[in-house]
């Protein structure tokens, strides 16, 4: 089961100490790369003949149960021509700001994938042109849901979560309904004005 990808030797001779370590799990090769050279390594793997990892299968992150263990950002690469896969990882110490350079310039497919990692783990990808939350709404204030220090039911109480979710009201941004509501505000019944002023929407109790 120790079928190490030949790309590891090539990476070591090209980047030396920037290749921190490698291991094989379930016959899949994983290479740990230092954060400073990550973008260079990925660009080299993408463009070098013989490597041709032209397809970015996935970008994700792993936060381990051991709080001391660094958070890892995972790049799953594939060479469509050679039918070969390689997994590149970069370990981020959680005591320092979680920052990695974006690979948006190499693969447009990284756009939403990096936004999701930012949304769920709080890793910022420097140089990403549009790094916003993607699955959670933009004013979401509870933190980063897939971190291990984020409880399954969230940081806030159920009531607080509901209140914030309704106050965020993401669909209302830009919507004509919201606009017309604002213009007609003075004509609304007193109790509805009060409810709106408290930021309530819908059937909140």
């Amino acid at each position: 089961m120790s079928s190490i990808s030949p790309s590891v030797a090539a990476l070591r001779s090209q980047f030396g100490a920037a290749i921190e370590r490698h291991l094989v799990s379930s016959a899949q090769t994983i290479v740990y790369v230092s954060r400073d050279r990550l973008h260079d390594v990925l660009a080299w793997l993408k463009d070098t003949p013989g490597q041709d990892f032209n397809y970015l299968t996935d970008v994700t992150a792993v936060d381990y149960r051991d709080p001391e263990r660094p958070l890892e950002v995972v790049y799953q690469l594939r060479s469509l021509g050679r039918r070969a896969d390689l997994r590149i990882k970069v370990a981020l110490d959680k005591s320092a700001p979680l920052e990695v350079r974006t690979v948006y310039d190499l693969w447009r497919g990284a756009d939403w994938l990096e936004r999701e990692v930012f949304d769920m783990f709080g890793v910022s990808f420097t140089g990403h042109p549009d790094l916003r939350r993607i699955l959670m709404w933009e004013t979401y204030a509870e933190g980063y849901p897939l971190r291990k220090d984020f409880p399954l039911r969230g940081h806030f109480s159920r009531a607080e979560q509901t209140r914030q979710a309704l106050a965020a009201n993401p669909e209302a941004h830009y919507s004509l309904e919201e606009l017309s509501m604002a213009e007609a505000y003075g004509e609304l019944p007193q109790d509805m004005q009060e409810r709106l002023a408290r930021g309530e929407r819908g059937f909140l109790k």
């Binding site: 799990s25 379930s26 899949q28 994983i30 032209n54 397809y55 970015l56 299968t57 996935d58 994700t60 792993v62 936060d63 381990y64 149960r65 799953q76 469509l80 039918r83 896969d85 997994r87 693969w107 447009r108 497919g109 990284a110 756009d111 939403w112 994938l113 999701e116 769920m120 939350r133 993607i134 699955l135 959670m136 709404w137 933009e138 004013t139 849901p145 897939l146 984020f150 399954l152 106050a167 965020a168 009201n169 993401p170 669909e171 209302a172 941004h173 830009y174 919507s175 004509l176 919201e178 606009l179 509501m181 604002a182 213009e183 505000y185 709106l196 002023a197 408290r198 930021g199 929407r201």
Partner: protein, 430 residues
């Protein structure tokens, strides 16, 4: 004067500091960021969705229009976010399978198969022959029903109602088979690590045989209705086209990737479940437009039907063969043995109380789902619950190319392009 859309308005909260509902800018700003009261003479923002029948779920698109031409398209997703990946970290592996039903709910059985395969790869489990054949049948049935939904709804989006009725009629036949096998039409939870939840019931093969023998006729009718239809061609050819390089750069997969001329199918290039022993072709498009995506999906249904027929032939030779591996780590011993044999009882107890424990390690396994490559990335620390369970969602990644395909096209083409991506929001938002 150059105009710029007020994108930042997306972040405004509904209420201002005084507690009054804030007026949300719907219009344009000048270079200095000053907000213009009028809606903008040259450009207009249109909000499409999240509750719009043609967005195929709760997808919201904010479109900046100049006349009828789309200048910018900003998708907003997350309305159906359920936190499946977080939930999975608190569940044992077999308990995760019901979560996979609910991601791509138009092909639940194929999702179940993908997850079970990933855990089995992590544990190094070799499946029984009958299980592999039944899983292939599950995957190909899913591909057919998913593509039929796509065909029907896309037809409706472009104004053709009849093929919708045909495709949903055919789909119903598969759903009936699915229901008699698993007991559920949607929440199938078909697989278990090391095998299946249940074998097919008596006489089930005959039902599927009947389907595979008559289904090609429906496909022919659809072909007659669409393939050389002037309206269909006019609405789809050259619309939303992506080149092969763009498709690769956007990490597209499945029919979206192949329609652009990239010959990559996980079943052929990374075979699982012995797909390499089945005789089938992978259709590849040329122009990468909606028409090619339609051709690819239509042909894939024909090929799935071929695979189903071959799998049924194999199944008839494997009558009475076991569907589960005889591995006491993952499959419960028969109840009669657990009540009489000490060792079997211990295995039963350990599995029920502790769950399946894959060794520490990690695996990425991709399967060719109807929407594209569905990947499961599982990190295990040797306990019965995964450290991380990541879904590589093909719909999500394919949808990310939507703004590029829409920009410069007409508003009415946005509907066609969005339909051609074949998204299911349960998977996009997870």
């Amino acid at each position: 004067m150059t105009l710029r859309t007020v994108e930042m308005a997306l972040a405004t909260t509904g209420v201002d500091a005084a507690g009054h509902p804030a007026r949300v800018p719907l219009g344009l700003s000048d270079e200095n960021g000053a907000y213009r009261e009028d809606l903008g003479a040259e450009r207009m923002l249109v909000n499409l969705g999240p509750q719009h029948p043609a967005t195929h779920g709760v997808l919201r698109l904010v479109l900046e229009l100049e006349g009828e031409t789309v200048k910018r398209c900003i998708p907003h997703i997350g309305y159906l976010h359920s936190g499946f990946e977080k939930l999975g970290e608190y569940r044992q592996y077999n308990q995760i399978i019901p979560l996979t039903d609910r991601t791509d709910y138009l092909s639940p059985m194929a999702n179940n198969v993908g997850l079970a395969l990933a855990v089995e790869a992590l544990m190094g489990i070799e499946l029984t022959e009958r299980c592999k054949v039944l899983r292939v049948i599950a995957c190909e049935m899913s591909r057919i029903i998913s593509h039929l939904v796509w065909l029907g709804t896309t037809g409706i989006d472009l104004g053709a109602f009849t093929p919708f009725l045909w495709s949903f009629q055919e789909r119903e036949r598969i759903y009936n088979l699915q229901e008699s096998w698993t007991g559920a039409r949607l929440t199938t939870s078909l697989t278990r690590v090391g095998g299946l939840m249940a074998d097919i019931p008596e006489g089930w093969e005959a039902g599927l045989r009947e389907f595979t023998s008559s289904f090609p006729k429906t496909l022919e009718e659809v072909d007659t209705m669409f393939t050389r239809n002037a309206i269909w061609i006019g609405r789809t050819q050259g619309v939303g086209a992506l080149t092969a390089d763009e498709a690769i750069n956007f990490s597209l997969s499945g029919p979206m990737l192949r329609a652009s001329g990239v010959d990559y199918d996980v079943r052929k290039d990374r075979p699982y479940l012995d797909y390499e022993t089945y005789d089938f072709d992978v259709p590849v498009g040329e122009y990468g437009d909606i028409y090619d995506r339609y051709r690819v999906r239509l042909e894939e249904m024909t090929q799935s039907n071929r695979i189903l027929e071959q799998a049924l032939d194999r199944l008839s030779r494997l009558k009475g063969a076991p569907i589960n591996v005889s591995d006491p780590r993952v499959v419960l011993p028969p109840k009669s043995r657990a009540m009489s044999d000490m060792e079997a009882m211990i295995f039963h107890f350990k599995q029920v109380m502790e769950g399946i424990k894959p060794p520490a390690g990690e695996v990425y396994l991709g399967v060719e789902n109807p929407k594209g490559e569905l990947g499961y990335y599982i990190v295990s620390d040797g306990t019965s619950k995964p450290v991380r369970w990541r879904i590589r969602p093909p719909s999500f990644i394919n949808l990310a190319s939507l703004p590029t395909m829409c920009e410069g096209s007409l508003l009415s083409d946005v509907i066609a392009i969005n339909a051609s991506v074949d998204i299911v929001m349960g998977e996009v938002d997870r």
